[in-house]
Amino acid sequence: MENISIKATPKTPTVDFIAESGKVEIKGRSIPENSIEFYKPLVDWLDSYAADPKEETEVNIQLEYFNTSSSKCILDVFKKLEAIHKDGHNVKINWYFEEDDEDMLEAGEDYQSIIKIPFKMIETEEE
């Protein structure tokens, strides 16, 4: 299957979904007005990937900002990953937050409590 590689814009994140290595990365800002349009291909990709996932899928989410409409779409991404995990495959989620950014840590904790996969919270230094 084809990988997804999207470069960041001021309102949308860098995306790298790589099937061969089982790597799923979203980094940067996610504040588009229409988040569904941006996230639909990502959710669809995970749907296809779920049919034959790698033994371990590593997920790195490193967001600086995300708006509320993205927050629901990000949950959709996690739900797809949860399904892969439920099917007996390893899914490792790393949630990055900048030092002192309690809001971003809390956002990760909110997702963790909805999704039944353990999250690793990783603090990064302020840029």
Binding site: P10, I31, E33, T68, S69, S71, K72, D100
Partner: protein, 178 residues
């Protein structure tokens, strides 16, 4: 007395204004405003954590205008008319946004805001999670989470007002303090 936009706008832009805009709220306007504002906030020597929190509330406020504003009654100012003002005084940031709406949805919005305002911090967080996990979007693409998110991040009550314009339209004002 009926709402007078020019009067309202001149009142809210009297002091401490670092950015102000009124007019058509297009996607381009939102982009440009966000670019300018981030630079302005950082220039003001505010702490990064505060700037981040403010930026998030600004994104929600502007996108609220983008999704929900309507034309200015009795004037030719485009189909999505809104006003947005950012004030900084010492370490305090105030975000004011305003838009017209049809009179008959005022009560619905008021009720929703009041429901959020009676909740304590923990309950606001719980409500946020509840709406987040309830996978629905409004027809305009908003998730219904914007106001709850603002209340959650700021830890303060939603400071809103409605001003009657005529029997058909009202004006909605939202002030957010960071």
């Amino acid at each position: 007395m009926n709402f007078d936009f020019d009067n309202w706008y001149s009142n809210i832009t009297k002091n401490d204004v670092v950015f102000s805009y009124n007019g058509e709220v297009t996607s381009e306007v939102v982009n440009k405003t966000l670019d300018e504002i981030e630079a302005l906030l950082l220039q003001n020597g505010l702490k990064k954590k505060k700037v981040k929190r403010a930026y998030n509330a600004i994104v929600e406020s502007l996108q609220n205008l983008y999704h929900h504003s309507i034309h200015e009654p009795n004037r030719e100012s485009g189909s999505k008319f809104g006003a947005f003002v950012l004030k900084v005084r010492n370490d305090d940031i105030e975000i004011i946004s305003g838009n017209y709406l049809i009179f008959n949805i005022v009560q619905v919005i008021k009720d929703r805001m009041d429901q959020i305002n009676i909740l304590d911090k923990q309950d606001v967080k719980a409500l946020y999670k509840k709406i987040l996990s309830n996978q629905e979007f409004s027809e305009k693409g908003g998730g219904g989470l914007g106001m709850v998110d603002i209340a959650k991040r700021t830890g303060s009550k939603l400071n809103y007002s409605f001003f009657e314009f005529d029997e058909k339209y009202s004006f909605f004002e939202l002030k957010v303090d960071i």
